[in-house]
Structures are given as C-alpha cells and as structure tokens.
Symmetry: C2
Subunit: 433 residues, 2 copies
Amino acid sequence: MALNKKPYRGCRDFYPENMRIREYLFDQMKNSAHLFGYEPYDGPLLEEVELYKAKSGEELINDQIYSFTDRGERFVAIRPEMTPTLARMVANIHRQESKPIRWYSIPNLMRYEKPQRGRVREHWQFNVDIFGAAEGKGELEILSLIRDFLKSFGADHSMFSIRINDRMIVDHLMNQLLKLDEDSSYKLYKIIDRASKVTTEKLNQMIDEIITDSSAKSILNQYLGLDSFAAIKTFIKENNIPAESFLNIVSGAEELELLNYLEYDPAIVRGLDYYTGLVFEIFDKHPDNKRAIAGGGAYANLLKIFNEEPLGGIGFGLGDVTLKDFLESHGLLGDFSKKNCDLFVVTTEEEHELSVIKLANELRTLGCKTEAQLEKLKFNKIFKLAEQKGFSHVAMIESKDNSPQVQLRDLKTREIQYFSLEQAKDILKAIKG
Amino acid sequence: MALNKKPYRGCRDFYPENMRIREYLFDQMKNSAHLFGYEPYDGPLLEEVELYKAKSGEELINDQIYSFTDRGERFVAIRPEMTPTLARMVANIHRQESKPIRWYSIPNLMRYEKPQRGRVREHWQFNVDIFGAAEGKGELEILSLIRDFLKSFGADHSMFSIRINDRMIVDHLMNQLLKLDEDSSYKLYKIIDRASKVTTEKLNQMIDEIITDSSAKSILNQYLGLDSFAAIKTFIKENNIPAESFLNIVSGAEELELLNYLEYDPAIVRGLDYYTGLVFEIFDKHPDNKRAIAGGGAYANLLKIFNEEPLGGIGFGLGDVTLKDFLESHGLLGDFSKKNCDLFVVTTEEEHELSVIKLANELRTLGCKTEAQLEKLKFNKIFKLAEQKGFSHVAMIESKDNSPQVQLRDLKTREIQYFSLEQAKDILKAIKG
C-alpha cells in the first residue's frame, strides 16, 4: 500500500519557491520590528488548555483548537494564537523589566478551520506588542510600525488603510446611550462586528431584535453612519463621550503624518473581552481582495488571569497567508522562482570532479554562494542548465596543455576570463566586482 | 485561581536574550546552506501517523510521538522528525527536478522525552539533504558543509570530529564474516550502537549472548578495536569487504583536506533500517560534553514507502540544544544580553514627546534601528538607562532659545554634537560614519 503524498488537510508544503517567499516575508517582519527596537521572543508549541480558556472563553476553545491529553494527563493544545503565551511570559518578567517592553514573534499557529481562500489550519503570525507605554504613545508607535512594515514592500495608502475605532466609544454607546444590559451589549457587539458582511436589510432586522426603542435605534443608526474623523469627533462632542485618549491619538497621528493611512470605522469592535481602548484592522483596498489583513488594539487586563497587577499593552497579529494575498493582489511580490546563488562550478572531464568540489569549497570560505556540479557534464548541457537554474556565472574546469584551468563565463555579457585553480579570490572579484 | 506561569514540561520559553541566540544559530545554518546552494523547504506541523510508522516502525512511534485523532477521524502526530515529511515532498517532485536536489529546513519537532540535559520535548533541527548526487560526491559535499558550518562559529578540529563508518562494512561483517541471521544482526546492531556507553565487561557479556563461536568472537573484537583509517583499510583488504565506495570517500576527503576532521569509528552504525551507506556522528571533544551533536548518513530507499523508484540521498540532522551546548562548552557564544539597536531618542520635556516619535520614524526610514522613549525622562536617568540597554548613542531633544534642537551623544567617546529636528540624515551620518 502506497502512502498518501499530500500534506495534512489545510496545511501547506513549502517547496523552495514558496519557502523563499515565506523567508522574505519573515525577513521584512524582523527588519521592521528591529527598526522600532522590538525584541524577538518565542514560546512552546503546546500550552495547557486552561490558559486559552482563561483568555478567550470556552467557545473559541471548543470549536477551533487542536487539543488532546498528553501521557502525563495534562490537557494541552497546539497554540491557536500567541497572546496567551505572551501574557504568561510577560507575567513572569514584567516587574523587573524597564518599560516599555517591546516584543515581537513569528510563531506557527494551528486552528481547526474549514480550509478556504485566506484560511488554512497552520499559519504563521507576525505578533508585535508594546507594554507599559505612555498613554496614547504606544498606539502611535504601533500604527507607525504597521505603516512602515507595509511600505517596506512598496505598498502605499492607495492599497491599504488602517481602520480604527475605540472601545471606550463603543462601550459608552452601549451602556450609556443605548442603555443595554450586558447580554444585549454582547449580542449587539457581534452584530456590529458582522455589519459589513450583511445587507442593510438583514442588519436592521438583527438590530430590531435587540433594540426596540426608536430614539435608541436612531442613535445607533447615526453611529453606524459615521464615516470620517470629523463625523466621529462631532458625535463624541454631542454625546459627551469620554474619549479624550482617542482624540489625542487622532491628533498625534495627524502630527506624525499618519492620518492618510487611517480611516474611522464604527464597525471595528473586535472581540468582546480583551480589548479596552483603541481597536483597528488593516484593510486591503484592492477590489478583488477587500479583506482585513490584520487586526489589533489596546488591552489593559491581559495579566489579570495570572493575578498580576494591570499592565497596559497594544499589539497586533498579521498572518502570512493574508499578507501574501495582499502583496499578490497589488503585484508587490517579486520573482522567487530562482535560487539565490552566485556561481555554478562544473567540469566536462571526470578527472576534475574532485577539483570542482575543492574550488567550490574555497570560494565558499570567501563568502561566494557556490553550487558544485558533482558529476562531469557534457559541454552543450552546461550553459542551458546554468541558465535554467538562474545563475549569472559559470566556472568550468577544463584541461589546457595538460593542466587544469578555470574558464569563467558571464552568462549575461558572454564575456570569458581564464584563471588557475588557485585563483579563487580573483574569480570572486571577477563575479562580484 | 491563578494560572500556571511555567512553560509546558520539557518546552522552552525564549525570552529575548535566548531568542537572539536562537536566531543567530538559525542565521548561521541558513548561511552555510546557502553557501553550498541548498534551498529552503518546510512542511506541516502535523502528518498522519502512518507516515512515521512506515519510516521508523511501531516502536519509536508508540514510545515517543505526540499523536491524537483529529475531528475528521484522522490519526495524526506532531512531527517528531523531518525526514518522513521530506520523503513525502521529494516523492512528489523528484521526477521533474534536475539532480542533485539540495534542500535544508529548520523545523520545530516534538518528542515525548523525559526532560534532561540536552533533551527537551520541543527542539529545532537543522536538516540538510542532497538527493541524486554522483556516487561518493554527495557524501563529500555534506561532510564539507558540516565542517564549514561548525567552523563558521569559530570551532576547529580540536573541538569536534566527524566519526564515520559505512553500513556496507557493518552489513558484510554481520552477514558474511559473523554469519548472523536477521534477528541476531538486529540485536548486535543495538549492542554496537551502545558500545561506548557500557563497560567492556558488560559489552562482552552482551556479545556472549549472541555470538558463541570463538573465531567469530575474535573477528568482532578485532572489528571493534579498529581505531584509524589505516586499520579499517587493512581490515577491509584482509576480509575482502566490498567497500570501494567507502575507500573512495576517504581518499576524496584526504584530497579535500577534510581528513583531519574525520575519525573512523566502528561503533557508529545508526538505526538498523534506513541508512545504507556512509553513516556519521559529529562528536564534541570537550571533556565536559563528550556527546554526539548530530548524526546522519546515506540512504537509498527513502522513497520506497511511496512506491517510487529508488533515489539515493545523504543527509544529517543537528539539534539547536546540542549545538548550543557545544558552543557554550567551547566558549564560542558571544554576548547576546543587549539588543541590537543603533540609537535611543529621548526628551526631558513633555512638549517634545511627539517630536521624539517623529524623529525616530524619520531615522527608521533611513535604516537606523531606533528606540523612542515615549515619555519624557529626567536628565540624570537618561544616560544610565541608555547604557543599561546597551546603546552607543543617545539623541536628546531639548529646547534651545525657544526652539527644539537635538543633542547627540556618543556614549563611548562622550562627544556631543548638535542638530536640528530636520537633520535626520546628518544624525545618522554622525552615528554610522
């Protein structure tokens, strides 16, 4: 019986071309994080299920995690998200660390998803968080980092926008203006969260089930119609909403020339628990891919599950799949079909096969990425193969007057130079200039 | 009830210092692989248990894997090793790829180990494999790569050796010279594998249980006493062992100046299945850490489980834990306690807090790794904090004649220079020269 050659459902095999793309995405993530002084961390693949329950409640846990009981009777799960691990790690060290704490990670995560476009079971997520920052300033830094990260691929504000809102506004709306109890608030949160995905008719129908009072309904409709920073500013003022921190973030963003990357969106609320201040989602503006690429926000009580004193944080998570889809939609991914290698060393004669390896080894100690052809090749095959593999140069060892010489060819200019086997440094110079 | 703040048993939390070390190890792995023209790949975290059983048999599988049944009734496992995934992926593409295929990966793997020094449940493993190379040449390339990889950390042949043997020799010994049946061969393989870990007395006792014939016993003892390439060469000649490929590898290694990194070791046999030619283990020579850092070898039948035609390969796996222990034993790990950042931007005045972020953002677009202090600091705290964080330069925004200026301090030379807020480029020049 032959075994199945497909990867496990919803997971990906990364052959070299796709792996080069993934490495490129990760390198850009690391670069952006380092430019802002963020430090790398990582945690275990498995955590106790209790930890995920404490952060996200039973629902997500039961539906979406890969959980099992280990041989020591521990009920564990493959991490579906990084935040609980982050919280556990920060809870261990925050008292002795100087603030703000700036951390990032790029873990692989697993969720039991039904595979579809943009959704896989295993993905990687760029997680960036800042803890203990001065009020409003951490938000501005995180928003700057997101903008710079996407700009590093060549994206600009015609391609994406960061839609922001504030949980202080939404909570005030629910509790004070609409006077909803906790249960109705929860339901309305879910409706708002799905507002952009349903028809206006359907939306009104869902709202009718929760809000019957007509003046409340009119306030809600007014809220859902807010479509600019000017409009939300007026709404805040007219309804006496205590949203000074949000207004400060908006004016700071203006001063930092961030505002053309931001949009106000009343439908951004994110999950009911967890977030307590600014919330945001990064949206792809491409007509074929109108989707959130990433999301995040400010949270005050992440360490509560560890009985630790409150420590405010702001962070976001951005998946490798949605990022790649975004970049592809806008034609921002280059050509990754060829491997990154400087030189192809070959011979047509069996007697020089070991010299091929020897010369290649020497070139490598000088930093030259070198592929050695381990077996002699026919002359007319060499250059076809080299071009197919994407090399710019070929070094061919051949016999000349009974001693070996190296013929170096530039495949673009067709220029040919000759060297002895001992001239590795000169060969490198000829290639790299 | 407060939650547990420890990581899952046998797994590691990577706080920034340890994560920087891990990233350094991974970067060296990638560099070495790229220098030899190896391409990156990766596969899913989960594979069906059938795949692992097909490669390694029931025993390893039942004892050591994290397996469970998913919601779709698939019996799956968190990958305990990369080779079965590699085999599956190569089986998919080998027919249309030009040979040799050169691939590497650095996956996280999980085994249900009892945690102890050098053994953890989750680790990362540098996997390097070449398929379809000319006979004996792939071995030489892989051995060169291992040597260069460890040399890239500053290690030399006083610190490690690659102990080699060949399965053709061991198989000939078992079948032809000792005339053992399959079952006894299997037992003897296990005994030889453990030879270095038991006393001579215990070893002889174990051997006595399998071999009773005294001339056979004498041959085995002679074999186990072979301690040099000269000795094994004589043994091969005297016993007519068909080991030409092994002898070619040794003479090739001599020509490539690899031989001072190699030792012949009759006790290196590796697992019974799987390997078919050269086998090797990399040993740490440090008296406190005499251990195998990594192992590998040549295998001919990896694709058999997929009913594919044979494709010979050579490869090795090297774990992050054993590598780190090796480097630490020899003092080859540098200082990773400080973050890698160029500049600390601060102010003592609240009115300049936003300017700190703005200047930092501008410096970042120029490629300067910049940490912004988001809240004003007292003057006498700034430089202490900057030194503690490991910065070489501080840019402090301050009021001068009612307008802001930037005071740039070199913390080593104590030199001070002044700039306007618009001179980000000049500031960068002053730092980087």
